[in-house]
């Protein structure tokens, strides 16, 4: 019974210490609030001035993705492109996995490896680079990004399409069931649409036709990710008679990873469970403590499991209107649920993360328990009070170190939007004062004033707008 008390005390101490310490998410609270208020330059300043605390040397991809996106929202297109370019270079570099880092993930935690970016992050960075170039009026460079997107999507298609096609067939016919978890994101309607608009402006009819096929295919073959109607029709793939205005509106914020922590302690014939859940703003909060009689259980063991959980942050926005010179053109409709794509990508990895975490925790805990016992024993065998205290302190220190080392890998990019919406309108060539209005129900949340915008024939006329709420 004494052993269990000792163990519970240690765990509560560890929880208290962990609670006091900032988690990765709590470090971003201030920057996230600034983004929510559309104050992107302040968010950028917070992130850059706290770079050493927010990102480790293994998180270069995340730093460049996060700051690249904040610069994009802030209209600093050139610098945003440089950051996103660096993120892309690192993702390419980290394709080559470090064996020593992989070994460290089995011994310490998953955050010991370089963050190599998720598939969706690698695709979206090119989408936003293309939008950056369009913002600078550099259509040819935007087209380069469109081609890079196509190469990357083709790679993903080769990797995952057979699974997706199998899943689509299984839904239609009787056959072996393929779980949705096996369906991977390999085709982005958003990325294909950006490419389509650029090809349309170039008068590249073949490029437009192929992009349009891919947009439709994304909805057809990845119905778990695109479970809403295709917001575009055949006219998208036709060259406009005069000029066409295309608007991409983005709302919300991409999901973040939160930690779920579970401690299991054993006493003689006794098991105690302590459970903590992470709050995005407050850090880890103990949720419950249960202690019960469990005959036959050997005392002195304690296990800490910490698993990441992808937490959607969604958006308050329910509909978005586009206004030109005070006249409502219409509403934009959802083209891509970027949040769902992030969640889906993580769902596929989740079982692997779970098994790896459980295995690592068991090994570490068993080794830790043996080491702790040995230290206490050596202390008591020394026969001196100092030796005994040193033995006890040593075993506590071992447990705290093991507790601290077992941490969920909470790394994921923070500043991609949650949803992408699209709308197109044929207009006579000219200049228009464009506003994008974001609503929650009947309440106007925000008006993004894009200013006077030229709309001309054989030009992409693709505008983008954001509200991170």
């Amino acid at each position: 019974m004494k052993g269990v008390r000792f163990a519970i005390t240690t765990v509560l101490l560890a929880v208290a210490l962990a609670g006091c310490a900032s988690t990765r998410n709590t470090l971003f609270v201030e920057a996230d609030d600034a983004v929510r208020d559309a104050d992107y330059s302040r968010a950028l300043q917070i992130v850059e001035s706290n770079q050493d605390r927010m990102y480790t040397s293994r998180d270069g991809v995340l730093f460049y993705l996060d700051t690249g996106m904040l610069l994009h929202y802030d209209g600093e297109y050139r610098e945003s492109t440089e950051r996103l370019e660096e993120a892309e270079r690192l993702i390419e570099e980290y394709f080559t996995r470090s064996i020593s880092q992989a070994a460290a993930t089995f011994l310490i935690n998953d955050a010991m490896r370089d963050y190599g970016g998720e598939d969706f992050e690698d695709i979206y960075l090119n989408v936003f680079k293309a939008l950056n170039f369009l913002g600078e009026g550099r259509t040819e460079s935007a087209l380069v990004e469109a081609r890079r997107i196509n190469i990357k999507l083709n790679l993903l298609e080769d990797k995952y399409q057979s699974l997706a096609a199998g899943y689509a067939r299984a839904e239609e016919a009787d056959g072996p069931e393929i779980r949705p978890g096996e369906n991977r994101f390999y085709n982005s309607a958003l990325a294909r649409y950006v490419s389509l608009v650029l090809n349309r402006a170039e008068g590249n009819a073949d490029g437009v036709r192929i992009d349009w096929q891919f947009v439709q295919e994304a909805f057809r073959q990845q119905s778990n990710l695109y479970d809403f109607p295709l917001p575009l029709d055949e006219s998208t793939a036709r060259m406009p008679a005069d000029s066409r205005l295309s608007v991409l509106a983005f709302a919300g914020r991409s999901p973040v990873k939160l930690a779920q922590t579970l401690w299991i302690l054993t006493g003689d014939n006794m098991v105690t469970i302590i459970y903590a859940e992470e709050d995005e703003r407050l850090g880890r909060i103990p949720q419950g403590l249960a202690s019960f009689y469990f005959p036959g259980v050997e005392g002195g063991y304690r296990f800490k499991f910490e698993l990441p959980r992808l937490h959607p942050r969604g958006s308050e926005v329910t509909h978005i209107r586009v206004v030109a010179d005070g006249r409502v053109l219409g509403e934009v409709e959802m083209l891509e649920n970027m949040e769902e794509i992030a969640l889906d990508t993580y769902r596929i990895k989740e079982p692997i993360v779970f098994i790896k975490t459980v295995t690592r925790t068991l090994v570490k805990s068993l080794v830790g328990a043996r080491a702790g016992q040995a230290m206490r024993q050596a202390g008591s065998e020394s026969g001196t009070a100092i030796g005994m205290i040193a033995g006890i302190l040593g075993s506590i220190a071992t447990e705290i170190v093991l507790d601290a080392s077992e941490q969920a890998d909470l790394r994921v990019s923070r500043y991609f939007p949650a949803y992408a919406y699209v709308g197109e309108w044929d207009l006579p060539a000219g200049e228009y004062e464009i506003d994008v209005e974001y609503y929650r129900g009947g309440q106007l949340l925000y008006v993004d004033r894009l200013g006077r915008v030229p709309v001309s024939p054989r030009s992409p006329n693709l505008l983008s707008s954001y509200l991170a709420r």
Partner: protein, 201 residues
């Protein structure tokens, strides 16, 4: 027992020694040495394509025909070289390489491109009011080009995990400015196979 002390100390010394090695070294190389690091389009590609293009364009019959009919070397201007590839290629060095090779051949004459001409015209206008009369450059005395050289750089990429084959295709046209007749078409292709290891220490 001594060996138990010595071995860890030597290991530690080796580790510390390894850590002390500078993480970056710089080595000077010849400017024309072929160095391929990322597999992307680089200065070597630009130089090799320019050399081959110029070699080809100067060996073709359009040059002899023009010289015999006009009794002078043709005047050429380099127009746009469009990047239709999947890489951000700065076409300026490539254009400069072609201009340099052509001028150094002594077989054609060159006039400056549109941006430089704009600057020259502005300077010439400025001279009309600001420079001494005997030093003023005349207006309307530019040499008109006979031919325009323009082209595209495109690429196709075929890739699977860790392996990428990139084929660059550079196409150039020489067009008679007066008649819009295409007198020469050049094509040069470069293919690269880029392999990236899946693991490292």
């Amino acid at each position: 027992m001594r060996i138990l002390t010595v071995v860890p100390l030597i290991t530690l010394a080796i580790i510390i020694g390894g850590c002390a090695t500078p993480s970056r070294t710089v080595q000077r190389t010849a400017a024309d040495e072929q160095i391929d690091l990322s597999g992307r389009w680089n200065d070597t590609d630009s130089r090799l394509v320019a050399e081959e293009m110029v070699d080809d364009v100067l060996r073709r019959p359009w040059l002899g025909r023009f010289e015999s009919s006009e009794n002078r070397a043709p005047v050429v201007i380099v127009g746009e070289v469009r990047n239709l590839s999947s890489e951000h290629i700065d076409t300026t060095p490539f254009i400069r390489d072609i201009e340099r090779e052509l001028i150094n051949s002594g077989m054609v004459r060159f006039v400056a491109g549109d941006r430089v001409r704009e600057q020259l015209r502005s300077e010439r206008m400025d001279q009309q009011t600001q420079a001494r009369e005997e030093t003023v450059s005349r207006l309307g005395a530019e040499t008109g080009a006979d031919f325009m050289l323009s082209g595209t750089i495109s690429s196709t990429t075929d890739a699977i995990d860790g392996l990428r084959a990139v084929a660059y295709s550079v196409n150039m046209d020489l067009i008679n400015i007066e008649s819009a007749e295409i007198v020469w078409i050049g094509n040069k292709e470069i293919k690269k196979l880029i392999e990236q290891r899946r693991s490292r220490w």
